[in-house]
């Protein structure tokens, strides 16, 4: 098809270009087949009128055979086109082959149509028949369906057929001659060389004139049409993407509802046990403590869900305008978690690279949420007596903050789903470590929105190292905040 060599260069655009081209190819073929049905109906109508006006003269049988033959051939075209389209839709034929197949079908149809038109002319007046203008019509259609080179071939094919017919009648190779209007006196124009040459000349120049103008127009229209078809394909993709997003959101809502319901369900069940006297007196206090822990878990779930929802709702551009002192935020978060670590017997250490992280393009509250989750996880998954080391440095134009713990680590399977909301590793469940399942999703959301990076290294029993990097504000000095002396924080 005419647009094939000019399709989009690569990647998604190229794929979309092929899809658009396939769509256009089949739409045009369908339209061409419809036109042929209309033309055949017009032929039948014209013959009916002619039968009334030209009575008692009769048209030759061959004329009717050509029309019936063309009807049969059009049915074949319908079957070929729908079969090819079905194969492309079902993926049995790829789109490139689909476009090629449609092009072959279009070429075959034009060639057969021109031959059939010549036969119709031959049996209804030859060069005397003014319906030779239908050659122009076919050239115009060919210009819409085919490449310029192919249209030229068909133009020559049309002129060749017309010339052979005209000279055949002139030289009386093709006999007998069938008059255009049998009811009128026969002027025998097909036997007059001057008329025959004029007819061939006028038909040929008209065909090439039409060819020239159509190719000019089609080139412009095709460009717009291609863009439109690509836009339609893009729209369909967007619709599918929105639908998938809605499904993911619905799934997230269900999961979130389940996660929020879980501690509440446990609390209600525990209260039922107390109410029915199923808990021995000596264990009541322990159960109350569990209920308090589950309440705390529920509150944590809601808090994390709110933070996560805020990340999703806010405009990511807020990070671009931010100038946050990474070290100051890190210091504040470490101060907040130092008592928790101390209570658990975990040593919270800090270290720094040669260059202190300075101002970063991350919203301060988001950075604090991100770092808080990293420290929270590190302390939770490190048993008493272990270490959590927090460090920062500047690397490749980014502020890099690293949290390394000597805790339980995780398997590759857990690490693979680490950032998925509400996915918790079996290690955490077996070790009875509470968590909302949203912490690392929040970390990832902050990092992605601020155009940063996150990297996780972990192995079971060998601890976990999480490194987040955020873009530095260009040409800014190192942090003004005081990073605590090397050693244990909050000790």
């Amino acid at each position: 098809m005419s647009a094939a060599p000019e399709m989009a260069p690569s990647g998604d655009d190229q794929a979309r270009g092929y899809r658009a081209q396939t769509l256009l190819s089949f739409v045009r073929l369908k339209w061409f087949i419809h036109l042929r049905w209309i033309m055949l109906a017009c032929c039948v109508g014209a013959l009916a009128i002619d039968a009334v006006l030209s009575r008692p003269a009769r048209r030759p049988l061959q004329l009717f055979v050509v029309i019936v033959g063309l009807t049969a051939i059009n049915i074949v075209w319908v079957l070929c086109t729908s079969g090819l389209r079905k194969r492309v839709r079902e993926g049995e034929t790829d789109r490139i082959d689909g476009v090629r197949g449609a092009s072959i079908l279009a070429n075959a149809q034009i060639a057969v149509d021109l031959f059939a038109l010549t036969l119709l002319l031959r049996y209804s007046g030859g060069v005397e028949n003014p319906m030779a203008m239908f050659y122009l019509f076919h050239v115009a259609i060919a210009a819409l369906l085919l490449t310029a080179r192919e249209v030229f071939v068909h133009a020559f094919w049309a002129i060749l057929l017309y010339t052979l017919m005209a000279f055949g009648e002139l030289a009386e190779f093709l006999t007998p001659h069938y008059p255009f209007l049998p009811a009128l006196p026969d002027l025998r124009l097909h036997q007059q060389p001057g008329f025959v040459f004029c007819a061939i000349f006028i038909t040929s120049t008209s065909i090439f004139g039409m060819l020239y103008f159509m190719l000019r127009i089609v080139a412009r229209v095709a460009s717009h049409e291609r863009n439109l078809a690509q836009a339609i394909c893009a729209l369909r993709e967007s619709k599918a993407a929105i639908s998938a997003l809605q499904q993911r959101k619905a799934m997230f809502m269900r999961t979130a509802a389940h996660q929020l319901k879980t501690p509440l369900a446990a609390i209600q069940t525990q209260v039922s046990l107390l109410r029915e006297g199923l808990v021995p007196a000596g264990e009541v206090r322990t159960l109350y403590d569990r209920i308090v822990a589950r309440c705390r878990e529920g509150i944590g779930q809601v808090t994390d869900l709110l933070v996560y929802a805020r990340m999703q709702d806010l405009d990511a551009d807020r990070h671009a305008a931010a100038r946050t002192d990474a070290v100051a935020v890190l210091q504040a978060v470490c101060d907040r978690y130092a008592p928790i670590a101390r209570q658990k017997g975990v040593t919270l250490k800090r270290s720094a690279g040669p260059a202190q992280a300075g101002l970063v393009r991350v919203d301060a509250a988001d950075l604090a949420d991100c770092l808080a989750n990293l420290l929270d996880n590190a302390i939770k998954y490190t048993p008493g007596g272990g270490d959590v080391t927090v460090s920062h440095c500047v690397d490749g134009g980014a502020a890099v903050i690293e949290v390394f713990d000597s805790g339980m680590g995780m398997t590759e399977a857990t690490r693979a789903h680490l950032f998925e909301p509400y996915r918790r590793g079996s290690e955490a469940i077996l070790a009875d470590i509470p968590g909302s399942g949203l912490g690392m999703s929040i970390v990832q959301a902050v990092v992605e929105q601020a155009k940063g990076r996150v990297n996780v290294e972990s192995a079971p029993g060998r601890g976990t190292r999480v490194r987040v990097a955020f873009p530095l504000v260009a040409d800014t000095p190192s942090s003004a905040a005081t990073w605590a002396e090397k050693g244990t924080l909050g000790a």
Binding site: A250, M251, M253, R254, T255, A257, H258, K261, T262, L264, A265, A266, I267, Q268, T269, Q270, S272, L273, E276, L278, V279, R290, R294, H417, Y422, R423, R424, G425, S426, I429, L430, D432
Partner: protein, 133 residues
Amino acid sequence: MATPKTILLIDDDRDIHDAVRRVLEPEGYRIESALTGPAGLDAARRIRPDLILLDVMLTEPSEGFHLAYEMKRDDALSEIPIVFLSAIAERTGMNFAAEQGSDYLPAEGFIDKPFDPAGLRESVRRAFSAVHK
């Protein structure tokens, strides 16, 4: 004295294990526990319980369903009745049937969390009586 019926509880919530134990052990059942899907499958193969109480959302969403299908495909376990025990009620919009594209839910019962002790006892009793009809 009759051997007590064994119930295997597969759930990632320790408080639910504690509650189920407190409710069902006085009824004469023996409770075995597993906190994850793989551990639950191992336990089921090892102890061949008389009933499995199975949470739907374990380490992964819908893991309970997959586990139930796996057990029903296992000749050694397929006869053991399974009762889902989950906070995923129909109210949350989870469509169980959609999991396999049919109306087949590979379980003999469903208990919605939170459960009350009487409701749990009744559901377990009903599951056993359905199997032994």
